[in-house]
């Protein structure tokens, strides 16, 4: 049987996490190809709708990466993200989507190692959960 390869949509902020992901590359660290990056200016740009849509379209996981609290390039964008993420988990539970498939992590531009580590661990986690059932079971 072919190995199951999850699809993880990753929203990375330009200033910290995307730069951290670039550093992981420059350092030639390895992580699975299930990590699919979309670069946004700030994690606060991420509308909860993007996350819900990703799931309904069939993504197996959604990862949001931002600057560490206090380090946001735009001063307070990641605080919005943090609150929105807490809300998103509630919305997911209400809709019957699996909130355990969501991940938020603060990764700075210097943390290439952390980006690779989180990518590896998160992919393993999603692999254990298996395919996202909401693509068949949820109709909104």
């Amino acid at each position: 049987m072919k190995e199951y390869k999850p699809k993880i949509v990753c929203f990375l902020c330009k200033w910290c996490t995307s730069a951290g992901a670039d550093l992981a590359g420059t350092s030639r660290l390895k992580y699975p190809s299930s990590i699919l990056p979309i670069r946004v200016m700030c994690s606060s740009r991420i509308d909860p709708m993007f996350v819900v849509k990703a799931f309904l379209n069939g993504a197996d996981g959604v990862f949001i990466g931002g600057c560490h609290p206090g380090d946001c390039h735009y001063h307070e964008g990641n605080y919005h993200t943090r609150r929105r993420f807490a809300m998103l988990i509630k919305v997911f539970n209400t809709l019957g989507l699996e909130s355990k498939r969501l991940k938020l992590s603060w990764i700075s531009a210097s943390e290439g190692t952390k980006f690779a580590k989180v990518s590896n661990e998160y992919t393993e986690e999603i692999k254990n959960y298996g395919e996202n059932p909401s693509k068949w079971n949820v109709f909104l």
Binding site: W15, A19, R45, M49, K53, G58, A109, S110, T113, A116
Partner: protein, 650 residues
């Protein structure tokens, strides 16, 4: 529909190694919207860019996707290529298939599959990109320099000589940094203070330089060209305009504390001038140790001060300044010797760090340049220098090479030998890194003429026996144990970012690497700029370096700032928020969300507006808009959702 050209870069084998570029070209040729697709060995090269330019004409392209390295590296290169062909620079997208794809995957199947998806997202985004023109804003032709060491001083003088105003902020009561503490400098052995003080005086005298000593940056707001900063001047309690530097105050001061300037090797009073050549030349009261803040306890200095310059009630002062750019030159501190317990620092007074030894060597130091050891004032006859103390030791200490320790240790040994002719210096080293101009010659001369003995190896332990420091080490070249009965031990500590740098850097929202050094925009091609526009880097704040490199980098940063300030207007990214007036209900959530005050309510139309000049394009106001009236130009909800679809569809 837009005619899009896709150009896939091999980057030598950097991309081609894990991405099958030929197959990718075939696969994506059929993708809707792709009018032309090609792969080439180096897209960023001139032939690569020419390929783009020629294809734009030949295939009548309206947009280009370059699948290559991270957009931080070559986005502007390719945007310029488009502009040359009269295509708007925002009709370019870079698909990052190197840093975030080929370099992090081993399997060619996996790499190719993922690169395919990444390129498709770029194509989807580009389909809806609008052509935008930059927003122009006015430019304040002044620069803020943080740090008054040699880097900050050099940059300040260069910019001031170029005719622009400089605000120089230094946290200590005097400028000069660590360089003013040094005795001589390698490899020429010229006196550090002799070359430094004229520059310090020049800063003080220059009509274009405004110096805030004993001051710190409180806050900064704005964007490149238009920053507003708040500077806090800590009280010195001595009015510099009244103070005549007569020095009547220090003899009467009853409080004696270790001198920072002498690295604890000498003493100073609670009212003090850091060193004789201090700029600004005035006395300072050290609040932590002075008794005078309780008027009943002591007013001795105030009584002795004839011009009545001392005011214990002085409060911090705050200054607003408008500036256009910032140079960060916060410098270094030595890696703390407290981390080196095995070498007995702190326990044995004759175990010193590099800067302390520097003070003993210095003619203005506590011993007046005579070689005496701290414990009993004897002339040390045998000294052991230990290189890489706390450097190149990823398990326990700093992982990196501090670049200056090999040379400063050698200089120490040489200067010691010049003072104590019958003395014997020994140096333990891992490698000798003498990669500067005339550095290797300096090493060879020291070994052949000064009789310095080198042992390749590390020191395991130091302990005291009678009045000798017993140094146990190993010489890995002869595999022999070494035991030296030394009179003194000098640890060549590595350097790390200045202790105050973290606060400054987090205030400025700049990025640092894992060791706390500032990250440059490009490690090779943009070494003095930060990725955040308007911020420039100089000196050891960016990484360990010696004085010549620091001065070169400071001048380079000054040149960059001069180029910026020579413009009359500054262009601001047009990737800003936009409001659909039909949909906006004027609820005002965006107004309270914007950290820059760029969103306002139009009281007449009852809708929210965007001030393009203030908008930094973070997008926070877009995702809070309940009616989707707010959008981010060229990163709309529709564009992001189309990208999400590429990744998440079956």
């Amino acid at each position: 529909m837009k005619r899009i050209g896709v150009f896939i870069c091999h980057c030598g084998i950097n991309i081609k190694g894990t991405v099958d570029v030929e197959r990718l070209t075939e696969e994506l040729a059929q993708y809707p919207g792709v009018a032309y697709i090609e792969n080439y060995i180096f897209m960023c090269s001139e032939p690569g860019q020419k390929l783009i330019r020629d294809t734009i004409i030949e295939h009548k392209l309206d947009g280009v996707v370059v699948a290559a390295c991270s957009p931080t590296l070559h986005e502007t290169t390719f945007q310029d290529a488009l502009e040359e062909m009269n295509i708007n620079r925002h009709q370019l997208e870079v698909a990052n298939i190197r840093e975030q794809c080929s370099w992090v995957h081993d399997d060619i199947e996996e790499g190719t599959r993922k690169a395919n998806l990444i390129i498709k997202t770029a194509v989807e985004k580009l389909k809806l990109n609008e052509s935008l023109t930059p927003i122009f804003a006015s430019l304040t032709k002044r620069v803020l320099i943080i740090g008054g060491g040699i880097a900050g001083i050099q940059a300040a003088l260069d910019i001031a000589d170029g005719g622009y105003e400089v605000i120089l902020v230094e946290k200590e009561p005097s400028i000069g940094g660590h360089m003013i503490q040094l005795s001589e400098t390698f490899p020429t052995l010229d006196c550090s203070q002799c070359i430094m003080t004229p520059k310090m005086v020049a800063v003080n005298k220059h009509k274009n330089i405004k110096l805030y000593a004993n001051s710190e940056l409180e806050s900064i707001e704005g964007f490149v060209g238009n920053f507003k900063v708040n500077i806090k001047r800590k009280p010195q309690y001595v009015d510099p305009d009244k103070c005549t530097i007569c020095d009547d105050c220090t003899p009467v001061c009853p409080v004696v504390v270790p001198s920072e300037y002498d690295e604890g090797m000498g003493w100073r009073k609670a009212i003090y001038i850091p060193f004789p050549q201090s700029i600004p030349a005035t006395f300072t009261i050290d609040t932590e140790n002075c008794l005078g803040f309780n008027p009943i306890a002591c007013t001795k200095c105030s009584d002795a001060c004839e011009p009545d310059a001392i005011d214990y009630d002085k409060k911090p002062e705050y200054f607003e300044e408008e500036i256009g750019a910032v140079i960060v030159a916060t410098g270094f501190d030595l890696y703390s010797v407290d981390n080196m317990a095995e070498y007995g620092y702190g326990k044995y007074p004759d175990v010193l760090d590099g800067l302390q030894f520097e003070r003993i060597l210095s003619a203005t130091g506590p011993t007046g340049g005579e070689m005496y050891r701290p414990s009993d004032g004897k002339v040390p006859k045998e000294i052991v220098f230990i290189q890489c103390s706390g450097s190149r030791d990823p398990e326990r200490h700093l992982p990196y090479c501090s670049r200056i320790c090999c040379m400063y240790t050698l200089k120490h040994a040489k200067l010691y030998k010049h003072k104590v002719h019958d003395g014997q210096p020994y140096i333990f080293y891992i490698d000798i890194r003498s990669g500067g101009k005339r550095y290797e010659e300096f090493v060879q001369q020291a070994v052949s003429e000064d009789g310095i003995v080198y042992f390749r190896g590390k020191v395991a332990r130091i302990y005291k026996e009678a009045d000798k420091m017993i140094v146990h080490g190993i010489d890995t070249l002869t595999s022999k144990k070494i035991e030296i009965k030394a009179d003194m031990v000098v640890l060549a500590m590595g350097i790390k970012p200045n202790n105050s740098a973290e606060k400054v850097i987090s205030n400025l929202k700049l990025n640092t690497d894992e060791n706390g050094f500032l990250i440059e925009a490009h490690p090779k091609l943009r070494p003095v700029e930060s990725l955040q526009s308007g911020f420039y880097l100089a000196g050891t704040a960016q990484g360990p370096k010696d004085i010549p490199d620091t001065v070169s980098q400071a001048s380079a940063a000054a040149a960059k700032v001069l180029a910026l300030l020579s413009n009359d207007e500054i262009s601001h990214s047009p990737i800003v928020a936009i409001v659909n007036e039909e949909l906006c209900s004027g609820c005002g959530i965006c107004v309270s969300t914007c950290p820059y005050g760029a969103r306002e309510l139009d009281e007449i139309k009852k809708i929210a507006t965007v001030n393009d000049v203030l908008c930094e394009g973070c997008g926070a106001c877009i995702s809070v808009c309940p009616s989707s009236a707010a959008q981010q130009k060229n990163l709309t909800d529709e564009q992001i959702l189309n990208m999400v679809k590429i990744y998440s569809y079956l």
